[in-house]
């Protein structure tokens, strides 16, 4: 049994988008002969279709490579990929907690960019050894010296030793691997101490049950070990361990300091939580690893099939998705306008988008998602408290004593130049600035209390755009506070459409109602009849717009008797209509139900 960890290096690669994180990962796999060039599917590490298409990482992934270093030793590198979005900050923090080092990739032509700063700060906060790498030096416009200075000045990271590489040509990758050997500390665990291992990620395998990706801090795990998850107390018998190279390779054991997978044999994915600590129930470690909390859905939206006959299929699809995404929760919901569907809980807006896209793509469903909502606590005059996750469940105003909504502690890290813009944005979103701390000369950490409902709308996009992408956002639940909230209803052609209702702060109701009516007017296509759109609070109409009637829709020209052409046009129009929901006499496109996310802020 190998008890020495001096040959192990656990690290992540972090970068601004498009600075070449994935190509460098690919080159490392290639240079270490982990995959042969001909097998190298570009961007090996991002395996889900949607991840590859959108260039984002949603699930964590850990690949082990063997590197024959110049000093004659063979090193075990564990390359841990991290999700890159605020919805998944918790997963990011767990992934980084499994590393001792981070390779910070900076584009040699563009230099330090917004996400370079936020990612470097994340890595420094996690106390990682940082290996700066200047990428794309094969480009004629590369300026490695300028970029080196930027890294030192903007990030306060010594960059004399920054490695110049080209993910494209492979130049410098060898030097980078050598730097990792010298700059990243080996893990410092105790092989004989009681087992303490961190769960970074998990996925479900039909045959083997839940497979967890873990980092062993102390002790070791072998097939047949009895293991216990400390947060939940659940136990299981380890069915096998191994690592990914990048295909799964079984190993006799996962030793101290190593990263790999553990086959749990558990059939319920909900039992295994990212961030939980694995230990030996017979000889448990003194305490769990810090930082665990359960990934709780924060955002709730109605998800309905366009065609009501698909309801059962939607339920089956959700159940199948949950197997790989235990954070997903749902309960049945009925809407007058949309029929039967589910109120689904998500970690955040991106999570919602990704889930909706996966449901549509992997299960061939046409879905409507309604505006996201949060979990409101409604105190009735009768003295009970109701959990309201959907605006249509809100009791009539005369029955409501008060409504409380979830508040967050939000943390924004931003260059000082943008502090004003961020404070302005926070005020617009009912945020209360608590304090701010200078982390370095070039970055300030600002703290706010802000209602979750405000954050889930467009706060993150706005933050990114108003700070030119420099701000990073992190948040955690704070508490429930009373707010003056009202339900905004939308009427189409005089009929209230429950799926378009929205809970909003009273002071913002008028602006939002106006913006929403205007947006819906853009989204809803002209129909044969004029369609009035009205915003109302209770019985009071507070805004109005009108979709004008379509006056002409006919292919007049005769085209020498080419009737097929006319028929094909009709069929195309019908196809378009099928994707819309008919509400009363009005054909409403799917995106109308998310219109509130697209209301212009100047509206």
């Amino acid at each position: 049994m190998k008890k020495d960890t001096s040959h192990i290096r656990n690290f992540s690669i972090v970068a601004h988008i498009d600075h070449g994180k994935s190509t460098i990962s690919d080159r490392i796999l290639e240079l270490t002969h982990t995959v042969e060039e001909r097998d190298l599917e570009s961007q090996m590490l991002d395996s889900m279709d949607i991840e590859r298409e959108r260039g984002i990482t949603i699930k964590s992934n850990a690949v082990r490579v063997a590197y024959d270093a110049d000093d004659g030793n063979t090193y075990q590198f564990n390359l841990i990929d991290t999700p890159g979005h605020v919805d998944f900050t918790y997963e990011v923090s767990r992934s980084l907690a499994a590393c001792e080092g981070a390779v910070l990739v900076v584009d040699a032509t563009q230099g330090v960019e917004a996400q370079t700063v936020s990612n470097a700060l994340l890595a420094m906060n996690a106390d990682l050894d940082i290996v700066p790498a200047i990428n794309k030096i094969d480009l004629p416009s590369a300026e490695p010296d300028r970029v080196r200075e930027e890294i030192e000045e903007d990030l306060a990271i010594p960059a004399d030793d920054a490695v110049c590489v080209s993910g494209k040509t492979g130049e410098g990758i060898h030097d980078l691997l050598e730097s990792i050997v010298y700059l990243v500390s080996p893990p410092s665990g105790d092989a004989d101490a009681p087992l303490q291992a961190l769960i970074l990620d998990s996925y479900f395998d039909e045959y083997r049950g839940v497979v967890a990706t873990v980092r062993v801090f102390d002790g070791s795990i072998a097939k047949g070990s009895r293991l216990q998850m400390m947060a939940t107390g659940d136990q299981f018998l380890c069915d096998g361990v191994g690592c990914k190279r990048p295909l799964e390779t079984p190993l006799p054991e996962l030793g101290v300091g190593e990263v790999g997978y553990v086959v749990t044999g558990l059939k319920d994915p909900a039992l295994v939580h990212v961030g939980d600590t694995l230990t030996d129930p017979a000889r448990p470690c003194a305490e769990a690893l810090p930082g665990y909390h359960e990934a709780k859905p924060m955002v709730f939206a109605g998800v309905f099939p366009v065609d009501n006959k698909e309801y059962e299929n939607l339920r089956d699809a959700l159940e199948k998705l949950k197997v790989n995404d235990p954070s997903l929760t749902w309960s049945p919901e009925t809407s007058v306008a949309l029929g039967f569907g589910f109120r689904v809980g998500f970690l955040g807006l991106l999570h919602m988008e990704v889930v909706k896209e996966r449901l549509e793509r992997e299960f061939d469903l046409d879905l409507i998602a309604t505006s996201p909502s949060v979990d409101y606590h409604v105190f009735t005059t009768a003295g009970e408290m109701l959990d309201i996750k959907s605006p249509q469940d809100l009791p009539r105003p005369e029955r409501i004593d008060r409504i409380e909504e979830p508040y967050l502690n939000a943390k924004v890290i931003v260059p000082p130049d943008y502090m004003g813009a961020v404070m302005q944005l926070a005020i617009e979103h009912r945020g209360i600035t608590k304090d701010m701390v200078y982390l370095t000369e070039k970055s300030v950490e600002m703290h706010f209390d802000i209602p979750l409902a405000e954050l889930i709308l467009d706060f993150f996009d706005q933050l990114k755009s108003r700070t030119k992408g420099y701000a990073s956002l992190d948040y955690e639940f704070a508490d429930y506070r009373p707010s003056d909230l009202v339900k905004l209803d939308i009427l189409l052609a005089g009929e209230e459409v429950d799926a378009l209702s929205f809970i909003v702060h009273k002071d913002k109701a008028y602006t939002l109602a106006r913006g929403l009516c205007d947006k819906l007017k853009e989204i809803i296509p002209r129909q044969q009849f004029e369609v009035p759109i009205q915003g109302a609070i209770g019985n009071k109409i507070i805004s109005r717009s009108t979709v004008r009637a379509v006056r002409k829709d006919v292919l007049a020209k005769c085209y020498g008797g080419d009737i097929s052409r006319k028929r094909k046009l009709l069929e195309k129009q019908k196809e378009g209509k099928k994707r819309m929901k008919q509400i009363g006499t009005v054909d409403v496109p799917q995106e109308a139900f998310l219109a509130v996310l697209k209301v212009d802020d100047d509206a």
């Binding site: 292919l555 005769c558 009737i563 009709l570 129009q573």
Partner: protein
């Protein structure tokens, strides 16, 4: 209302019998011939036509090829009793004397033709050609005037002036032709006022027929590329509707009755050829991109000279073909069995639904014959429900001859046709065949 339909249709056996005869008619009632040559391509046009010099030997060879194809059709008896012919384009008049020869050949092959139309552009229609075509058997000219405002003509990429157009149209009328003018609305630079002038100008030339089209912006045309994803104000559906209604009012004041979505005629001056398209009369089209519609019986006859066409399943009632051979291929190897086609096969229900949809383009609407047939084939309840839905939306109204489109139904035709075509159920089978080597 639905009650009434049943009562009348119950006693309309004779109409249905007449209609059925048409659905099984072996020879064609109409012949279309396509000449895909223009001096210059207009900015908005996505039709099968290419800029070609007037003296290009391809024109000669291509027209000769079509003449021999007309002969082949006659050989198998498909042109027996054919009533109309239409030489469209492109700009047929660009072919000059070649066009005269083609018209003569068509009249020889189908002596029953009573209406023979040529499309013409003002810039290639001189007095000599007017006389020669008339002598060869052409009875009708459809002249692409589009607008009588020079600025608008330039914006469309037309190569003639308003004055030239007025003068040529008047000359054609004097030469004894039945003359139709094509006019285009919702075009760049057009105002309600300038549109009125164009319509009035065309009427004052003495034409008996006017076609009115809103400009359709097509992708992959210079105009489409220029406009991109924009929806220009000059082409707004609102503008299109207003101009179509303006034209309707002006033309009806001048004694023209609307008989189809885009067509207006003085009494007795309807285009019998186009009428055939909307009323289930079989027709055959020759040339690059030309369309044919044949009853199964006619299709089987065509297979005698075009054996590359596959035998079709027994349930096929109607076949639509579109010739996909290029101009050069047609010119080089003219025989019908060398041609390539896209083919659509319609079963009885699809043909019946198509007939309902096409009938609604005309002022007559759906008469008792096709209605009774459609109810028998598609199910009386379904047909009645569809018509009731259309009536509820104000797209059709009940007349003493059946169901006819309202003004709203004409403007929102796609809504109406779409609902009727829905009755077809199932996708139309389609296939492509290549000519014999």
């Amino acid at each position: 209302m639905r009650r009434g339909v049943r009562d009348v249709s119950a006693s309309c056996g004779i109409y249905e019998a007449l209609w059925l005869a048409r659905l099984h008619q072996r020879p064609v009632g109409a012949l279309y011939v396509h000449l895909p040559f223009c001096r210059q391509k207009c900015a908005y046009c996505d039709f099968s036509s290419w800029a070609t010099a007037a003296g290009d030997p391809l024109i000669h060879a291509y027209v000769e090829a079509l003449e021999s194809q007309v002969g082949e059709l006659r050989e198998v008896g498909l042109l027996e009793g054919c009533r109309t012919a239409y030489v469209g384009g492109g700009t047929p008049t660009l072919a000059g004397e070649r066009l005269v020869g083609l018209v003569r050949r068509i009249c020889e092959a189908a002596p029953t033709i009573a209406e023979l139309t040529c499309e013409a552009n003002p810039d290639s229609l001189d007095d000599l050609l007017l006389g020669r075509l008339r002598g060869a058997g052409c009875t009708r000219l459809s002249i692409g005037v589009q607008s009588l405002e020079d600025g608008e003509l330039r914006a469309l990429g037309r190569i003639h002036t308003a004055a030239q157009a007025t003068e040529r149209v008047a000359a054609a009328v004097r030469a004894g032709y039945d003359v139709s003018c094509d006019l285009m609305c919702a075009i760049p630079g057009q105002t309600d006022e300038s549109w009125r002038r164009s319509v009035a100008g065309a009427v004052s030339c003495g034409v008996g027929h006017v076609s009115v089209y809103p400009l359709q912006i097509e992708e992959n045309t210079p105009l489409g590329l220029l406009v991109g994803d924009d929806e220009p104000a000059w082409n707004d559906p609102e503008v299109q509707a207003r101009r179509m209604e303006l034209a309707r009012d002006l033309l009806s004041d001048a004694g023209f009755a609307r008989y189809e979505v885009a067509s207006y005629a003085r009494s007795g001056r309807r285009c019998a050829h186009n009428w055939a398209y909307w009323t289930a009369v079989p027709y055959v089209g020759l040339g690059c991109g030309a369309s044919s519609m044949l009853a199964r019986e006619g299709y089987d006859a065509l297979r005698d000279v075009a054996p590359q066409l596959p035998e079709v399943p027994v349930d096929v009632r109607r076949v639509r073909l579109c010739c996909t051979s290029s101009r050069q291929e047609i010119a080089r190897r003219p025989a019908l069995h060398r041609l390539s086609f896209d083919i659509e096969l319609l079963d009885e229900g699809q043909a019946a639904a198509e007939d309902l949809m096409l009938a609604m383009r005309t002022v007559e609407g759906i008469g008792w014959g096709p209605l009774a047939h459609a109810r028998a084939v598609l199910g009386a309840g379904r047909v009645d429900d569809a018509l009731a839905w259309c009536a509820h939306r104000g797209l059709v109204s009940h007349t003493d001859r059946g169901w006819a489109p309202t003004d709203e139904g004409w403007l929102l035709g796609n809504e109406l046709y779409g609902r009727l075509w829905d009755l077809a159920g199932g996708d139309v089978r389609s296939l492509s065949v290549s000519g014999r080597p």
